[in-house]
Symmetry: C2
Subunit: 517 residues, 2 copies
């Protein structure tokens, strides 16, 4: 018998080092989230797929990124008022429903909020303009079913969201920018090393409408192409808006949208109007000077002005937040202000190439959140930090602190076990993480290897002779691994690493050592 031990494709184990970084991010960010009045809610890992918002074909094989299954039980089918559906013979219709591992934390928020207001909704007492205010943060794993996975991509990864439901005040969008900046700095990312980009969907949408792109589908297509500017350049965008282009990498021909050249020129002019790193004021003035004559554009500009003004009053200048009118942030979904945080550092990839890190967080206003469930518009806005992505950056940029393992009590002599246990207890009582080596192999080298693997700062060694003299030897493992790199005299090396301490002074000695290192 026996089995081949393995994980499902796209899943991984998290080791103590990565966990330390993950929880540093979560603890430091949520401290800021609470600072702004967000409260900690949690929702199930598993939800009805239809409530998460992606409709599934009635087959076992699913796609579209939702990791979903058929629930292993028969359950009633409900109408939108919560009544069980019945067949002609008046029997309750039973079905195996599709359930899904949540693919983000926003769709469960919509379900949660909809449940809150459900009673009022079915009694027609829910006035969309007066939907109750709800502010929560949530973190945890989310899941995507991607049949083919690029290296470094996972099907299970962690997000860290904060959202406000029930307010259309863009002051909250300004606040979201502040929350993101404060959170990143609290995590340890210095000012100047990141920037929050701000835009408003209404700017681009209003502009497109003003130049005659009024069809919703065409608008979505144009947005999708503009969104690729980062990758294919503005020239590539122009080609793809028009007659299409040949992809440089794959050589494949990508069909164009067939838009008139004159209209394309206007879009290109718009995209070229805004330089990176301009002052927010400069960009807002330029937007105003475009003289775009469309209500949606004007609304968008007014909102951006308000956000800028709040940030200005509270001292959030261009070092922390800039306006980028060409930023799109994916498809549909967002309806107003949008933001994205870019980490400004670069990293060297496995092939030795310098690479931009790019986006580590994003969000925006999405007033259609609850609409899919309750068929009423409820304003909402929020953002999400990609925990795993950010953890990777902190590790790559060496912005993490060393995680220290426990002090290891080496087991020299089984007969002295009760002394080892007493020493361990004394150290633990002072809050010092301490482990007695209980492994099968009592070989000293094995024990010290074990300690190194756990990043133990110190090892405590006690033999019969030492016990007689009332002393104990403490070995500095951190210094040891530093020195091991340029070692010449092995004997001298050992002397520098080891200190003999009176047994009575051990706890104080260890405390001092740990505080110093």
């Amino acid at each position: 018998m026996g089995l081949f031990p393995r994980k499902i494709k796209g899943f991984r184990d998290i080791d103590p080092e990565l966990n330390a970084v993950r929880w540093h991010i979560i603890n430091k960010a949520t401290e800021i989230y609470r600072r702004y009045g967000f409260e900690h809610w949690d929702t199930p890992i598993l939800e009805y797929a239809e409530l998460l918002g992606k409709y599934l074909p009635d087959v076992d094989q699913v796609d579209q990124g939702v990791y979903s299954f058929k629930n292993p039980e028969l359950e009633p089918v409900y109408d939108n008022l919560g009544n069980e559906l019945r067949d002609e013979a008046n029997n309750v219709i039973m079905r195996q429903h599709y359930v899904a591992l949540r693919y983000d934390l926003t769709a469960p928020l919509a379900r949660l909020y909809s449940e809150f207001v459900w009673k009022r909704f079915i009694n027609n007492q829910l006035h969309p303009g007066k939907a109750p205010l709800f502010r929560r943060y949530q973190y945890g794993p989310v899941f995507r079913f991607e049949a083919k996975l690029d290296p470094g991509r996972y099907r299970e990864f962690w997000q860290l969201d904060f959202d406000t439901v029930g307010s259309d005040d863009v002051a909250i969008d300004a606040e979201n920018v502040m929350v993101l900046a404060d959170a990143l700095e609290n995590i340890g990312i210095e000012r100047g090393k990141y920037v929050v980009r701000i835009n408003n969907r209404k700017i681009v949408k209003g502009f497109l409408k003003s130049i005659g792109i009024t069809d919703e589908n065409l608008e979505q297509d144009v947005l999708r192409v503009i969104d690729k500017a980062d990758k294919i350049g503005i020239e590539g965008v122009a080609q793809e808006l028009g007659q299409g282009r040949k992809d440089k990498k794959s050589g494949a021909f990508i069909a164009g949208l067939g838009i008139d050249n004159q209209v394309i020129d206007q879009i290109v002019t718009f995209l070229n109007s805004f330089e990176q790193n301009s002052q927010r004021k400069t960009i807002l003035d330029r937007l105003a000077n475009l003289n775009v004559n469309h209500q949606i554009f004007e609304q968008g500009l007014e909102e951006l002005n308000k956000i800028h003004q709040i940030l200005l009053n509270l001292g959030y200048d261009e070092q922390r937040a800039i306006i980028d009118p060409t930023m799109i942030r994916g498809m549909g979904y967002y309806t107003g202000p949008i933001f994205e945080v870019e980490y400004l550092g670069t990293y060297t990839d496995e092939k030795g190439r310098k690479r931009r890190v790019g986006s580590i967080s994003g969000g925006g206003r999405y007033d259609g959140l609850v609409q899919r469930i309750l068929d009423i518009k409820v304003p909402a806005t929020g953002a999400s930090i990609g925990v795993d992505r950010l953890a990777e950056i902190l590790i790559n940029q060496k912005l993490t602190q060393d995680t220290k393992g426990p002090v290891l009590i080496v087991v020299f002599d089984e007969k002295l076990m009760s002394y080892y246990q007493k020493i361990a207890q004394d150290l633990r009582k002072q809050g010092i993480n301490t482990e007695i080596y209980y492994g099968a192999s009592k070989n000293l080298k094995k024990q010290l290897q074990y300690a190194d693997k756990k990043h133990s700062p110190l090892a405590v060694l006690l033999g019969e002779d030492e016990l007689q003299q009332g002393v104990v030897t403490v070995r500095d493992l951190e210094l040891g691994s530093k020195m091991a790199k340029n070692i010449s005299d092995k004997k001298q090396w050992k002397q520098q690493l080891q200190t003999q301490v009176k047994l009575d002074n051990l706890v104080q000695f260890v405390l001092d050592k740990l505080q110093k290192s």
Copy 2:
């Protein structure tokens, strides 16, 4: 359109109050876990069902408590050496594998550890006596598929485990008892309010073998019946070991095992030999005096003696840990020392009955952990705290601290918004959680209701008149909700709750208020 918003049966949302308790438990317990040298690992939510150890029939409908599904992709089938199986035409055999939401944190540990030692295993370099030492803690949701759910039971609940793999030293079992006691006290459960019960499977097993119950299946059946002593009493156990009994509640007849009366008498005598709350030494002496002549019993007794001695040396007396030779803790699985923590308080249930709280944690030694995967015995021992169960107790026993919401800045006048934002920023800079009310309805009563719902301690009120005078009003919402219970004079009431403060002194005033409350 529209959808009926709801959760899957057995799943629930976690509100800020419950989350605060949950994370208090996790943070306080893991502080102790680290104190003893355990490190934080995490594993996926979803695993191959066969590796979790419950074999599933090849149908969509599953049972046995495992929440499992067919993975929506075709994958190769592997043999136990990791080779893809092939059919007669040499094509790789592809199948939709069963995957499962993890039903505990122990089975994933077995998979994780097996992956670690896999290379050595297939090269025949893994000596069972020298399996590497691995100590980890892990917490998170686990899942059970129970078709019928009792009230208060969930399909998704949180566990908080610590385990040591690769050591057969029962000193670790003694340490586990200490970890549990320390963790519970660190969480805030006073000494005397809980007790760790200790037993050793080898005691009961050895005893049963010594009186002629040698058949493995019969032994399991007998253990299962003894395990019910708590519910059906020792008389009920005797009946069920013999000719069977009529269940008092349901009236149903429960078939007996048909064991000889003489053997049953010996079992009953054994069960009656140990009084609750005896000294550990007394119980160990009584066990020795039973003169059970069986090697397994003797081994078990020796191990219990060693555990007792370590606990005694380190000051863990009967207030924290007792020995209960009649404790079974479920079926199979455990192979040596076992422990269970009982919370000694009672609670009043919804029908007004006083009830014992019972077990809040348990664990033990299970040397078969890795065997199911790698077919070698690797010793392992550990324990698990039921986070949700313990959270419920802390809440019922009022052992939780109030979770405070943010200070609420009331929005009186939209024109003063920039002042509200400045005040909020000043408070936040001092680490005070602060929220500006951005809800749609600006009605004062609505805003204060919102603050109460979030357990806000204070509300800050600023109107045009006050701004002119450079003052601001602070309302004590905590005092307000206390006083609201016995209110007579509404005007006087309001005076006591509200204080006018100079705008310049606001931050200090709020800091003082919050420290006092």
